[in-house]
């Protein structure tokens, strides 16, 4: 048995060379990291929420309750998968799979450190935004296929919101691209030698963070799943592991948008001393902590406020910011 494996491995190595090694190691690390990140973030979210509301949060399972999420995961795995009879079966089943499928792809290009990047694609940033777009499709599929009024309303709202906030997100990323003259994430980090883009582009950084919070459907932009009015929004009908997949994808997406923010605006793996992946991870989790903090502090926006904020303020500001950047670049260079 082992022989077959080693022979297949040799064939792979001969065919692709060291690339295969990078591919396999990268895959294993990315897969492990997605799981650990989700376990940690769910725990962090509950702990932070607890302390903000003057509770202590999970504390029974493991030290400080860190193992709570694992137990919850096992529970989710053992719950019945219910497909409602009126639902459209195929789309209903496919939706959680489609929502999780693309979350691994951004790990190909995320630059954790100077040499800790699986593959430096020259279209890295585009790749991440392109695969993030699949999320909306999956939510609409799941919400519509459920044949549930709450789910449908949640899905429709989600599409309107994600579509509106994707534009300021793209435009603020563009004002970084115009300065770095590259879509490769490594080149963008290297362009921030000395000065992080957050100090050059503070407006774009704020726009990006607002847009990213809305893209991940988190409060104050969590109108697609607004618990107090829509039960659970688009995933009302999902139970057990299918719901778990939505959850896993959501927390991985949080990590991805925070990583992109770190890369675009906060200097990636660079720090005052000792550049390395520790800086990258520290910045990412600091940003995520901020997002969690915002969620448990601010109330939900009303829908008209939500749409008007994007179309009347964020998008015009982002457009002006992009043009101003282009003009200043001409004057300076």
């Amino acid at each position: 048995m082992l022989n077959i494996f080693s022979e297949a491995w040799q064939a792979l190595l001969n065919f692709f060379g060291p690339l295969a090694l990078v591919l396999v190691v990268g895959l294993v690390v990315a897969l492990t990291y997605v799981q650990i990140n989700a376990l940690f973030l769910v725990w962090l979210e509950r702990k932070v929420a607890g302390h903000i509301q003057l509770r202590i949060g999970p504390k029974e399972v493991g030290p400080f309750g860190v193992l709570q999420t694992i137990v919850d995961g096992v529970k989710l795995l053992s719950k019945e998968l219910i497909t409602p009879r009126p639902a459209s079966w195929l789309l209903f089943v496919l939706s959680p799979i489609l929502v999780f499928m693309p979350v691994l792809v951004p790990f190909v290009v995320l630059p954790f450190g100077e040499n800790l990047q699986i593959r430096d694609l020259n279209v890295g940033l585009m790749l991440i935004f392109a695969f993030a777009g699949l999320n909306v499709l999956a939510i609409l599929m799941g919400g519509w296929a459920s044949n549930n009024k709450y789910a449908l309303l949640g899905a429709v709202r989600s599409v309107a919101q994600n579509v509106a906030y994707e534009i300021p997100l793209l435009l603020s990323a563009m004002s970084v691209v115009i300065m770095a003259n590259s879509l490769s994430l490594r080149a963008i980090v290297e362009a921030q030698q000395g000065l992080w883009f957050v100090f050059v582009q503070p407006v774009a950084a704020v726009l990006y963070l607002v847009g990213a919070t809305a893209e991940t459907n988190r409060a104050p932009f969590d109108i697609p799943e607004a618990e107090s009015e829509l039960v659970a929004g688009f995933h009302t009908e999902y139970s057990g592991m299918r719901f778990g997949l939505f959850f896993l994808a959501e927390y991985t997406n949080m990590f991805i948008v925070a990583s992109v923010a770190t890369t675009l605006f906060f200097g990636g793996w660079r720090g005052p001393i000792a550049d390395g992946p520790w800086w990258f991870l520290a910045k990412v989790y600091l940003l995520i902590f901020g997002v969690i903090w915002v969620r448990w502090t601010f109330p939900r926006l009303r829908f008209d406020q939500l749409m008007n904020l994007a179309w009347k303020y964020l998008i015009p500001i982002a457009l002006v910011n992009l043009l101003a950047t282009a003009l200043i670049l001409k004057l300076v260079r």
Binding site: S78, E80, T83, L170, I178, N181, N308
Partner: protein, 121 residues
């Protein structure tokens, strides 16, 4: 296509396929090991405890379709900016004028929607 681009896309493809496998696996496992409940009521859609009234697949006014239209006019065109921005700075002033014209015409979509009262609720 140069070979290194081919292996770039091989990475993306493999990650996507593995993502697919790891999305299917837990659902499949759950489908095998989880208990099956009895009774038809559990297969109805959830409506906060009441018996569902009709279906969700009915005609209703989605007031967001106008936003979808502006988005189509906007976001798809914004994508064309990416290649321009990557090459930005290789011409003296021409690229700035180009971008200003392009973005100016694009923002007319918002101005138009604003004047038509799409943003009034």
């Amino acid at each position: 296509m140069p070979p290194h681009l081919l292996s770039d896309y091989l990475f993306v493809l493999v990650f996507l396929l593995v993502g697919l496998v790891f999305a299917i696996a837990p659902v499949l496992l759950a489908a095998i090991i989880t208990p099956r409940g009895v009774g038809l009521k559990r297969l109805t859609t959830y409506e906060s405890g009441m018996a569902p009234i009709g279906q969700a697949w009915i005609q209703f006014g989605v007031s967001y379709y106008l936003f979808a239209l502006i988005f189509l006019a906007f976001d798809v065109d914004v994508l064309y900016l990416f290649p321009v921005l990557v090459a930005y700075g290789s011409f003296p002033w021409r690229d700035l004028v180009g971008i200003a014209l392009f973005v100016g015409i694009l923002s007319l979509a918002i101005v138009y929607a604003w004047c038509k009262g799409v943003f009034e609720w």
